[in-house]
């Protein structure tokens, strides 16, 4: 019998704990395929976050460290500085990366730390049951914004890719989405490009992936994909935000 589809080797055969319709599974596979296609899996070390992807250490067939909430870029820094020839990635959600771990994220980028950050933006804290995240949309109802996010009291959603694009140490920043087959293909190309940049020693790379959380959004999986497109994409435009080396020190702007 002819094999027409198989699991990519960097992905383990563990059954994931993700909810039905959640897009974490897609992104996991894209990361694994990118590593395998670039032949990097054997020298890859991943850092799992706190949040829904906390057990990512069971889902990738590479060495893994589980980090404290928000600290994955700091842990990844320690790993990378010990094994500069390895490929180090973090896989973090929006609460982990853009709230409690903002400092670690920004400064890893500022140092031009040669790591790759996979940033899942689904506009909510998933694992803890759907609280307001730094990326929660204005007026979005969550467990802790039951009347909708009131920007006059709870502030505005943070645009991480735009912010990091202003940091000289960042080499490659792109925002993608996994709401359609076409966008999944583009997301994979972005993730692959990020790892290729790291393998070339180019510095900090981050791919922000707009993702869905049907369970905590209270939508079925298909409606969740629509919600992402209609609500998140206008606020978080897809595209490449940074692609190139930092300006020379003291050079002309």
């Amino acid at each position: 019998m002819k094999t027409i589809f198989e699991r990519t080797p960097a992905l383990s055969d563990a059954v994931t704990h993700y909810c039905p319709g959640c897009t974490h599974g897609i992104v996991h596979r894209l990361v694994a395929e990118a590593l395998d296609e670039l032949d990097l899996t054997g020298r890859t070390i991943g850092v799992a976050p706190v949040g829904c992807a906390v057990m990512a250490y069971n889902y990738f067939e590479c060495d893994m460290v589980q980090a404290a909430h928000g600290r994955a870029p700091a842990v990844a820094t320690g790993v990378k500085r010990t094994h500069p020839g390895s490929i180090v990635f973090t896989y973090q959600g929006d609460g982990d990366l853009a709230a409690i771990g903002t400092a670690e994220t920004v400064h890893a980028a500022a140092r031009g730390e040669n790591i790759t950050v996979i940033f899942i933006n689904n506009a909510i804290y998933g694992m803890t049951g759907g609280q307001m995240a730094p990326t929660t949309m204005p007026a979005q109802v969550t467990q802790t914004s039951p009347y909708g996010r009131d920007v006059s009291k709870a502030g505005y959603p943070l645009r991480v890719s735009e912010m990091l694009a202003t940091v000289d140490g960042a080499r490659y920043i792109e925002r993608v989405a996994v709401n359609s087959a076409a966008n999944v293909k583009k997301a994979k190309a972005a993730i692959k490009k990020a790892f290729a940049n790291q393998a070339a020693g180019n510095g900090f790379t981050l791919v922000e992936v707009l993702s869905t959380c049907p369970t905590n959004w209270g939508l079925d999986p298909v409606k969740a994909l629509d919600w992402l497109k209609d609500n998140m994409m206008p606020y978080y435009p897809l595209g490449v935000y940074k692609d190139g080396a930092a300006p020379e020190a003291g050079g002309e702007a």
């Binding site: 054997g42 067939e61 010990t82 390895s86």
Partner: protein, 353 residues
Amino acid sequence: MAETILMKGNEAMAEAAVMAGCRHFFGYPITPQNEVAAYMSRRMPQVDGVYLQAESEIAAINMVLGASAAGARAMTSSSSPGVALKSEGLSYLAGCDLPAVVVNIQRGGPGLGSIQPSQADYFMATRGGGHGDFHMIVLAPNSVQEMFDCAFTAFDLADKYRMTVNILADGVLGQMMEPVVMNSPKMAELPAKDWAVTGTGGKRKSNIVNSLYLKPEALEQTNIERYKRYAVIEKEEARSESYLMDDAEICVTAYGASSRVARNAVDMAREKGVKAGLIRPITVWPFPKGVFLEAAGRVNSFVCVEMSMGQMIEDVELAIRCKKPVAFCGRTGGMIPDPEQVLAAIMKDGRLS
């Protein structure tokens, strides 16, 4: 023949760490430990090591965690308020069974406190210094030579038991200069770090460094196993120094900088004909309980000297099972007791006994 050099305690310890094979130092500025980071920033590039100034104390300890998970001898240093911030990482290091060396050059607290020397972080150091069931080995040097020596001990113990070793010093020991014999002891035979994340190379199953257990039974069992290791450490690694204790009727006890003051006071008491002696814990976790319990059978009373409101005194009372009275003599907030004050406490207690 080893070289003898006049050095600050902070720099002596930093150099010893490099000699012990530490090639990864992650720091953050805070007084009075800045000499450690400054020394490392100079020294590490000379030995192809990594000096990295982190964006925060929390980032620094998590970088240590990453480097340690990757198999390196990694270190960070700070002072009291900074070490408090590191408590998250200390707990994760324990939960992941990772070796690390963390230095606390203590200053006065609570809060921003003062930048003068203190011993008020004894509870924080000996009671784990973070959430959950765990301990750190806590070394308490009392001279620049011991600051140097204890760096070797710290890395060896950390690797041997896969846990954090806390060097608990203070502003006096960090800042003062004394001659140091730069002896490099033979490294202990240590187990291979086959658990480290290095990349599988496609040749082995993946290594996972993790502190999460979804099943409470599994976490309980892991903690029980870890405490079995702690029991071995309590038995094997407790260290102390006894001075004039053979015929002592009153036992003075102190660690670190205050033990130097206490020792002077013991000498002064002896000159006055009072049979005082000194027990100086060199590890404060594990606490050298046996030495104290044995002394409690012979002396009439204890005087505990600390640069705090009285923290180690609780361990002394526990160690001797409250068999004899324990008086407290201390200064706090960055103040240092003087020998006359300690002598007065000895004489008061001496009269009582």
